[in-house]
Amino acid sequence: MTARGANARFYVALGLLGGLYVVLIAAMIFADLFFTTPDDLWSRLNSPEIRYAIKLSLVSCLVTAVLSLWVAVPLGYLFSRTRFWGRPIVETIVDIPIVLPPLVIGLSLLILFQTAPGRRIEETTASRAGFLLTYLVTPTLIAIASVPLLRQFVPRGHGLLYAPAVALASALVLRFSGLGAEIEAPLQARFGTRITFQIPSVIIAQFAVSCAFAVRTMRVTFDQISPRAEQVALTLGCTRSQAFWTIALPEAWRGLVSAGTIAWARALGEFGPILIFAGATRMRTEVLSTTVFLELSVGQLEGAIAVSLLMMIVAVVVLVLMRTLGVRGGPA
């Protein structure tokens, strides 16, 4: 037998073994596709309940992805670049949501918000959301937005140090100009809510699981970027923070996109923690994954299939996006 023939037989054998799985997935998708018609699919997706679930899913997944990146970038960088006491313990804690059954995470969140601190947080978000958004979140956003401008005028490396002063000044201006009082009431009316079994609980449940995957992705990303370039930047005059912002973070952009996409996709597919912690109330805490459950529970198989197909399309779009960007959890 020729070497070429032996190689071909080997690869065909591998293809047959692995191909069974590919066939299974493809068969599942086609079975769903042929179960419904385009007209039926459209009419099901146009129902007010499912449209609400689509809207809430898109918003909550986006917020979850942003929050996950907010945590994953610093934590991934710390895990990758530093050796501190207790690091294995912290890493294990961060990995817990990856291995825990999703229902347990939902249950644990529910228990957490039954404790005294949890109840206090709920009371605060219900009665003081407008105040917090006006005098804490708004000044913080103003301070973050002003950092590039600050860098032009303050001494080198001190731009970030001035940000808290800008935040404080903004809060004082809001408070004493009367502008704060004007925006506080509508913000309270719009966002003042308890957490459990309300929209915030959907986001927290999604975040609790998705963030762990984002942290892992960012850690791998920073592991694959040599710290040498940052060290050179330090010798050129950078502070550690400048080296991070100008060298490490731009080099990690593909990993950043990957971590955000993974967090978004994980959030979209999350079901167990949402069911326990947020409930599955129609037109309130219903997201796409809970819609499948709710439609099935009332015998609406067509509705469940329609939402399933929609989620499959979204999954394919996410995968294509990730592959187009050449992202496999690695750096640029």
């Binding site: 040498r228 330090l234 080099e251």
Partner: protein, 213 residues
């Protein structure tokens, strides 16, 4: 003058014990030694990138042992060039100048001057991906010299490039040596390179530095 006095470094099983050397101002020092003997660690400690257990690093009579890498004002070229993958060559050469808040026109002038000297003017708009080893080392050298440091540390800058390119880079470094504007410590294990460039030679052997003249 670059002066190291009784410098000790420890990292895991690796240990460099009470190393001392002096490179006089404006001279070109070459440090040789076997692979893994600690040459790179010594340069990193001098640049402030590696903690020292004991000893002193003095630059121009000033003790910089406790200073940050930025405060030492040393130009550093690592073995792998370590270029910034998202930046153009122009931005590499302008990086340290922009950090120092130098006016844009002056930055452009300095970058043009460096690029001309290093013969990389045609690469200014390129990113590091696709640059040859020699081109990458020229960019790394330009980046390290851009802010006109008084001291330059070179970690085997010619080790991974072909013979022809090495010849032209040695000529560049020789020009730097003759100018005597910067005090250099160049790490290599290539004797021919050392013969061509060294004003002072050292050998790192069994954790000790021996001056060779």
């Amino acid at each position: 003058m670059i002066q190291i006095e009784n410098l000790s470094i420890e990292q895991g099983a690796f240990r460099l014990h009470e190393v001392s050397l002096v490179v006089p101002t404006g001279k070109y020092g070459v440090l040789m030694g076997k692979t893994g003997c600690g040459k790179t660690s010594l340069l990193e400690a001098m640049a402030g990138l590696r903690p020292v257990v004991s000893g002193k690093v003095t630059l121009g009579g000033c003790d910089v042992t406790e200073l940050t890498p930025a405060e030492r004002g040393i130009g550093y070229v690592p073995q792998d060039a370590a270029l910034f993958r998202t930046m153009t060559v122009y931005n590499h050469l302008a990086f340290a100048l922009n950090l120092r808040g130098i006016a844009r026109a002056a930055v452009r002038l300095r970058v043009a001057e460096l690029a001309d000297w290093l013969m990389i003017t045609h690469l200014l708009n390129r990113r590091p991906v696709g640059l040859s080893g020699g081109e990458a080392q020229r960019v790394a050298l330009g980046r390290a010299l851009s802010f006109k440091p008084a001291y330059l540390l070179l970690d085997e800058p010619l080790s991974s490039i072909d013979e022809d390119t090495r010849g032209s880079l040695v000529e560049l470094l020789n020009g730097l040596r003759k100018s005597a504007e910067v005090t250099v410590l160049h790490v290599t294990h290539n004797s021919a390179e050392a013969d061509r460039l060294a004003d002072v030679r050292f050998r790192l052997d069994d954790g000790r530095v021996v001056a060779e003249g």
